[in-house]
């Protein structure tokens, strides 16, 4: 249908792919840019990519339909420009820029990075597809380096005739195939080295977190791009474009910019950022894009579908043993403190489920105080959390870190992009702030800003991105766990003082054995448990509301000084998560009492701590 501009093929394309991808696990056939290095993927083939929208570029106008002319024969051919970067034409043809047939269309470019802080297990499982569905081997011959690739496969790949119509692209693809595998082999094992030797200074790929790896990608969206927001997590299916011509554009343009006043609109800086070499930052022309509620590969992508409902109900039926096991596991991890473990579970399933004007509801930032100072304990706690949640980051709150790292994303107007910062995280990322690392010292301006931003993030669940001339507020949904010695200097919704029941002589060994002792299947259950419960709905019946009211009034009567509205807020939150953690979507009287009991225990502990400290002084 390429030559018929009138057909509504565009709709059909999307429909076709939507249908095809629904068929027997077709999604697993599509190679993913997350797992497979770009070089192993065929250009112009269908790929998928799980990513977070880091920045949005300006919409671009492209030739939706264009006409080529053969100067010799004067033969005119119409082409479609959708899903392409380059308007192609044969060697004997020229593009007629002024043709009346030309249709200009609009598309939007997102700069996407892999989900920041994505846990290793998410990557592994989504590649091997171990649990949820039996995985069919992906359509490329690539497997991660731990499975040594055989020679045959290599050759097989090189011999694969590339199916490009255009010669030069074909040859470009071949070059990738033949010359680079040696180097790639090492690359694949060490992760992708992003600094290519002929590109200096190295392009900053703008990952929010330091030390992140993985492909960044320019995702071109053709429809309803208004529905996407910065920091959304997407799964896109689209056509991979790594046309080497795109990289040539770069250098050429820079050379000729002196000549051509039309091209000097953008600074060299902006050019570099907005059209980076395609080998480094590939393009994906999106056919289908969907926002992901979660990135846990153990769960069905969309929970509202019929088949996933059975999955959910199956899991819910065996919920309580899982919860008990998880509680036990975390109790061990927290050195035998079951109360802290209970609160940690509540924290891990918390999520901002709504906002009332400025107030985020459902956030539950926990301050775990009483952590031993300068020990590897906090590090191990983070390791365990990392094993349980799909995305997490450990922020070491040192003076050095606070003063020198970039927390708040800011707009770089010279390059016209949003330079990312540590606080640009996807929803439901676990942020573990390690305050035990903090020494006395001087915070400079950046440090103060960073601490303020962190405080705002915890209290209001929003980050004010710095746009130089103004600030802009981006709501977020990040679970913050603060580990500290005493009460943290950051705000939190609830402080739990750790009371270790045992002191292992070798912390490292203890934690390692703890992790190895857990069966992978059990670990997976924990993972499903935490991700799933977050997505459940919740309500409170009128009856219980009454009871809660009574209770509150009663409490206030007996002790008006210490019981405030804040306490009610917190207790309601604890009750909510307590119910959910047991798989119940309504509040029952028992749960409410249990929540009160937990709170009382927690408070008693804090009181006790205060006394201890007071005596010491």
């Amino acid at each position: 249908a390429q030559n018929d501009p009138n057909s509504d093929w565009e709709k059909k394309v999307t429909e076709y792919f939507k249908d095809k991808l629904k068929e027997n696990n077709a999604t697993n056939w599509v190679p993913s840019l997350n797992d497979v290095p770009v070089h192993y993927l065929k250009p112009n083939s269908l790929v998928k990519f799980r990513c977070m929208v880091q920045d949005m570029f300006d919409p671009e106008f492209y030739m939706g339909v264009y006409e080529t002319v053969d100067p010799n024969t004067n033969a005119r051919v119409l082409h479609f420009g959708k899903y392409r970067d380059v308007a192609e034409c044969g060697p004997q043809q020229e593009i007629d820029l002024n043709s009346s047939q030309t249709v200009t269309s609009e598309r939007q470019t997102f700069y996407c990075v892999p989900v920041p802080g994505e846990s290793a297990w998410v990557k592994e499982i989504s590649f091997f597809g171990l649990v949820y569905q039996a995985r069919v081997s992906p359509s490329t011959s690539y497997t991660p380096s731990r499975h040594k690739r055989s020679y045959e496969e290599d050759e097989d790949m090189d011999l694969h005739p590339s199916k490009q119509k255009e010669q030069h692209i074909g040859s470009g693809g071949d070059i990738h195939g033949c010359v680079e595998p040696k180097r790639l082999e090492t690359e694949a094992s060490a992760g992708h080295h992003l600094i290519s030797p002929n590109c200096s200074p190295p392009l900053d790929l703008n990952f929010p977190l330091p030390g992140e790896k993985g492909p960044a990608c320019l995702v071109k969206v053709y429809e309803s791009w208004d529905s996407f927001k910065v920091n959304d997590v997407l799964e896109v299916y689209g056509i991979l474009s790594v046309d080497p011509v795109l990289s040539i554009v770069n250098t050429e343009e820079r050379d000729s910019s002196a000549l051509d006043p039309m091209e000097c609109m953008d600074t060299a800086e902006e050019q570099r950022v907005h059209s980076p070499p395609a080998s480094l930052v590939p393009r994906i022309h999106v056919i289908l894009a969907q926002k992901l509620q979660h990135i846990n590969p153990l769960l069905p992508v969309c929970l509202n579908e019929e088949e996933s409902k059975t999955f959910v109900s199956n899991f819910m039926s065996e919920l309580s043993p899982v919860r008990a096991e998880l509680l036990g596991f975390l109790t061990h991890a927290l050195l035998g403190d079951s109360l802290a473990a209970e609160y940690l579970i509540l924290h891990l399933i918390s999520t901002v489920y709504a906002r009332r004007d400025v107030l985020p509801l459902g956030k539950f930032a926990v301050n775990l105080s009483g952590c031993p100072r300068n020990s590897i304990f906090t590090e191990h706690i983070y390791r365990i959390i990392q094993q349980l949640v799909p995305a997490s980051y450990r922020l070491q709150m040192t003076i050095e870190n606070m003063n020198h790292s970039r927390f708040i994303p800011h707009k770089d107007y010279a390059a016209n992009r949003l330079v990312s910062g540590v606080l640009q995280l996807a929803s439901n990322t676990s942020l573990v702030v390690d305050e035990t690392q903090l020494e006395q010292g001087q915070l400079d301006t950046t440090g103060v800003h960073n601490v303020t931003a962190l405080g705002n993030l915890i209290t209001w669940q929003k980050v004010d991105y710095d746009f130089n001339y103004h600030q802009m507020e981006f709501p977020c949904n990040i679970n913050v766990l603060i580990t500290s010695e005493g009460r943290s200097l950051l705000p939190s919704d609830c402080q739990v003082h750790l009371q270790p029941q045992l002191t292992p002589p070798n912390m490292e060994e203890y934690m390692n054995s703890l992790l190895t002792a857990v069966l992978p299947s059990v670990l997976n259950k924990f993972r499903i448990y935490l991700s799933l419960l977050r997505l459940l709905d919740y309500s409170i019946s009128d009856e219980v509301t009454k009871a809660v009211e009574e209770d509150f009034v009663e409490m206030r009567k007996s002790d008006p000084e210490s019981v405030t509205a804040d306490d009610l807020h917190r207790t309601l939150l604890v009750a909510r998560f307590l119910s959910l953690s047991a798989g119940q979507t309504t509040l029952s009287r028992e749960r409410w009492l249990r929540a009160k009991q937990l709170e009382a225990l927690r408070k008693a502990r804090l009181q006790q701590q205060k006394c201890v400290n007071g005596n010491e002084l």
């Binding site: 300006d58 919409p59 671009e60 106008f61 492209y62 030739m63 264009y66 392409r84 970067d85 380059v86 308007a87 192609e88 034409c89 060697p91 043809q93 820029l97 002024n98 009346s100 200009t104 208004d226 927001k229 920091n231 011509v245 795109l246 554009v249 050429e252 000729s256 000549l259 051509d260 006043p261 039309m262 091209e263 609109m265 953008d266 709504a354 009332r356 400025v358 107030l359 107007y413 010279a414 016209n416 130089n468 001339y469 802009m472 507020e473 709501p475 919740y538 409170i540 509301t545 809660v548 009211e549 509150f552 009034v553 206030r556 509205a565 804040d566 009610l568 309601l572 939150l573 909510r576």
Partner: protein, 838 residues
């Protein structure tokens, strides 16, 4: 494109030759004088006699026929127009940069007949590709200029214009006087005058604007034949309604006239753009000109005169350049949907529009939207299938330039549709509008009705009064509010809400802000090494609200800058060689925690929050947010909180709508309603004030100061604004009084006597407390005197004695204060633990 007659092929042919650079001066077309149909060509010849100067006029006469302006008709009439001829035409690069592309297109397509002749004679020609007829378009525009009287004109907008005379004729007169050859035309006026002409202007600006130029010049030089201008008048339309928002730009807008608003974020250096290259043959000195074609100059390889190859050299000095500047415009933050990043668009400014705007300026730009394909490489036929877009600027209008004149800019910025205004007005007629609005404010915060009402009035603000001529300067119209009270009474939440509600809100925390962060600081720009004044939160919230949390945690020096801001509404800066006074007409909404974490009801406000009374008295309203201890309240609070935790999404949506309405309502009232005091209201205010003074005078103290009267006036005005009333009436005064009294009752009650006493706020101490202090000092003096001639006394001994003697409890502080008072009287000195008499 070109308005040529099909009958004049010679000129057509000449054009083609021209672009391949034939030579400077072709022989004139053979039939110039009577040729009605190629007016540009004929006229341009007259306006720039070639023998006199290397003309800045494009040689391409025919394509620019609508672009070179002249008065062909007048020539036919034979009236001499010295003015037209003497005034050079100036190229309009703002219109021209893409015209070649279309021109080539039209020829290569073989559409030689680029003009569709509707009638045999030239009067009904239309420009190729459009439905624009040059003659009728010109005539219509002339009629518009001559007749248009703006029925909606407001006095303040057009100073010095007679509103009953045709507006643009007066503008032309202004041009004659001032000599600035630009005529700004409001597209809205044009639309109300002639819808079709407006449509043509929007759709084919490139063709229509030159026609407008032509028309304007004709009228102008007809009227003022002897006027000398730098170049001919250029018409600059603005305020095209087509596109307001950068986000709504789409491919259909290409090559159309659009107006968008945004903020300048970057501007390039001046780029001299070559319009025309001048080549000279090195062999025979033959010269030729080559015009720029799609950004490139085709260098002639062969000399036309002596046929030497590669002998032509570019002579820079004789080439023609025009100024150009690239500017990046970013979407204004208000236009942006939540959670997305702002769009940017590139602007090209030409000639005198270069350097008109600076980064940080808010501007409305009118211009032509362009899309240009990116060529990867001239030698390769592939083309990147993406266009580069930009806007050729025709007109800038700075949105905040008005601020200099002290006019509220939100009037300009916020555009309301008529239905919206109707809706708001309808709403304002409701009896309970005041209560409605106050309950829509921060619904998640429970009760505190009066505080919400106070904040509501703060959002509306009083009327601005100018007493500059009497030497008192501006009276502040902004209402300042301080909230103090127990921690955990959602003060911060209220602040956050307000900050999110108003367009120019700033939120800072007293703990984290320094004086510098609040006011302004001077910074060295790393690139230009220039000193730049960076403004802080207070200046940024000019015309808005500055929310300061943890007000009590602010250090002394920071707080001191607030003194000026809160009364004079300005900020003076003298730093690093920059001395200036910035406007900071901001309302301050501050929240403070009591010094001992819990509010001590036994102490006064000043004692509780430890703020200097000089600062406290600058707050119009001071509210206490206390945790009421009563069962019914607790019950309602509990129900409210529980409902928060399971409410459905839809309910939330509803509330969000409310917030938008509230925001518009406030913006409208702030922009359009400016209530004045009525007779009755004035009387009521006087009475209220006298009453307040009376209360105090009965006990020998002053309980109200002029500042309180001013506060009352502001509150009354704000309340009138809530009703959209232009007149302050008695009910407004009543509510102002009530609210003021409520606030006073809470914050200025002397805890010892239970009497409302303003001096707690104005002097930091209640009158009774002062009296008690004096009494104690006297008692102490007597005690010491009764002890006889001992030169030194033990401190502790004295303290015990006075406690034994006094019938009320004497605290250590009180005792020390009394000692200090006596020391001030040179009666004694205190050194360590001994008291020495003098």
């Amino acid at each position: 494109l070109a308005a040529q007659d099909a009958r004049s092929p010679p000129s057509q042919k000449r054009r083609t030759e021209d672009s391949t650079s034939t030579g400077e001066l072709q022989p004139m077309p053979t039939s110039p004088p009577a040729d009605l149909q190629s007016p540009g060509a004929a006229d341009a010849l007259f306006s720039s006699p070639p023998q006199f100067r290397p003309s800045p006029i494009p040689l391409d006469f025919d394509i620019s026929s609508p672009l070179t302006y002249g008065t062909p008709s007048s020539r036919v009439e034979g009236t001499p127009r010295s003015g037209v001829r003497g005034t050079p035409v100036r190229q309009r690069p703002d219109l021209g940069s893409a015209r070649k592309a279309r021109q080539v297109d039209l020829h290569s397509d073989g559409v030689a007949e680029d003009v569709a002749t509707e009638q045999t004679f030239g009067q009904k020609l239309v420009i190729w590709g459009t439905d624009v007829n040059v003659a009728s378009c010109k005539e219509k525009f002339q009629r518009f200029l001559q007749r248009f009287i703006d029925p909606l004109a407001k006095e303040d907008e057009d100073i010095g214009l007679d509103l009953n005379e045709p507006r643009y004729m007066q503008r032309l007169e202004e041009i004659n006087v001032v000599g600035e050859p630009f005529l700004n035309v409001n597209c809205d006026h044009l639309r109300s005058f002639d819808e079709n002409l407006y449509r043509q202007l929007i759709c084919y600006p490139q063709e229509v604007i030159p026609t407008f130029d032509m028309a304007a010049n004709e009228i102008f030089f007809d009227r003022y034949p002897d006027s000398i201008l730098e170049h001919q008048i250029q018409v600059r339309p603005y305020n095209a309604l087509k596109t307001r928002n950068m986000r709504s730009l789409n491919p259909e807008d290409i090559d159309q006239l659009i107006t968008i608003s945004g903020m300048v974020i970057r501007s390039s250096q001046l780029i001299p753009e070559m319009q025309e290259a001048f080549f000279k043959c090195q062999v025979c000195a033959f010269t030729t000109r080559v015009e720029i074609d799609r950004g490139r100059i085709a260098e002639p390889s062969v000399c036309k005169n002596c046929n030497t190859t590669h002998s032509m050299a570019l002579i820079h000095n004789r080439s023609m350049f025009s100024d150009k500047q690239m500017i990046k415009l970013q979407e204004s933050p208000e236009d942006m949907p939540a959670g997305q990043t702002p769009y940017t668009v590139a602007l090209f400014a030409h000639n005198d529009l270069v350097d008109k705007v600076q980064p940080g300026d808010r501007v409305n730009v009118t211009g032509i939207y362009r899309a240009v394909p990116i060529r990867i490489n001239p030698r390769v036929s592939t083309v990147k299938s993406v266009y580069k877009t930009h806007i050729d600027v025709i007109h800038y209008r700075k949105t905040d330039s008005k601020r200099l004149h002290g006019v509220d800019e939100e009037t300009e910025q916020k555009m309301f549709t008529e239905e919206r205004v109707e809706m708001l007005k309808e709403l304002s007629k409701k009896q309970d509008i005041y209560e409605r609005l106050s309950s829509a404010l921060a619904p998640s915060i429970y009760e505190h009705e009066d505080i919400k009402k106070g904040i509501l009035l703060q959002l509306f603000g009083g009327s601005r009064k100018d007493f500059t001529h009497t030497g008192r300067g501006n009276f502040r119209a902004e209402i300042n509010i301080l909230l103090c009270g127990d921690p955990g009474t959602s003060k911060s939440q209220l602040l956050q809400y307000v900050y999110n509600l108003v367009p120019r809100g700033q939120y800072t925390s007293g703990r984290g802000s320094s004086a510098v962060g609040l006011t302004a600081y001077v910074m060295k720009d790393p690139e230009t090494r220039q000193l730049v004044l960076q403004t802080g939160a207070l200046v940024l919230s000019d015309n808005g609200i500055c929310c300061i949390d943890e007000f009590d945690k602010m250090n002394e020096s920071t707080r001191s800058v607030l003194h000026e801001v809160m009364e004079q509404q300005t900020l003076s800066i003298a730093k690093a060689g920059i001395i200036c006074q910035l406007n900071a007409r901001t309302s301050i909404l501050a929240a403070a925690n009591p010094i001992e974490s819990q509010w001590n009801p036994k102490k006064t406000t000043t004692e509780n929050i430890q703020l200097p009374h000089t600062l406290l008295s600058r707050f119009d309203l001071i509210f206490l947010m206390l945790d009421p201890r009563d069962e019914a309240y607790d019950r309602r609070l509990a129900r409210h909180l529980v409902s928060l935790y399971y409410q459905t999404e839809e309910k939330m949506e509803e509330e969000y709508m409310e917030m938008a309405v509230l925001r518009d309502y406030i913006a409208y009232a702030r922009g359009y309603v400016n209530p004045r005091l009525g007779e009755e209201a004035s009387q009521a205010l006087i009475e209220a004030y006298v009453d307040m003074r009376k209360i105090g005078s009965g006990r020998g103290m002053v309980s109200a100061y002029p500042r309180q009267l001013e506060s009352l006036i502001r509150l009354a005005e704000a309340h009138a604004k809530v009703r959209f009333s232009e007149k302050v009436e008695t009910i407004d005064v009543e509510e102002a009084k009530r609210l003021h009294r409520e606030a006073l009752k809470q914050s200025a009650t002397d805890p010892r006597t239970g009497i409302v006493d303003v001096s707690i706020l104005t002097t930091g101490m209640s009158a009774t407390a002062r009296k008690r202090k004096e009494e104690l000092a006297q008692a102490l003096r007597k005690l010491i005197q009764s002890k006889g001639k001992a030169p030194t006394l033990k401190y502790q001994q004295l303290f015990d004695d006075i406690r034994a003697q006094s019938d009320t409890a004497v605290t250590k502080e009180m005792f020390e204060e009394a000692l200090r008072a006596l020391a001030d009287d040179d009666f004694l000195t205190v050194t360590g633990k001994t008291v020495r008499l003098l």
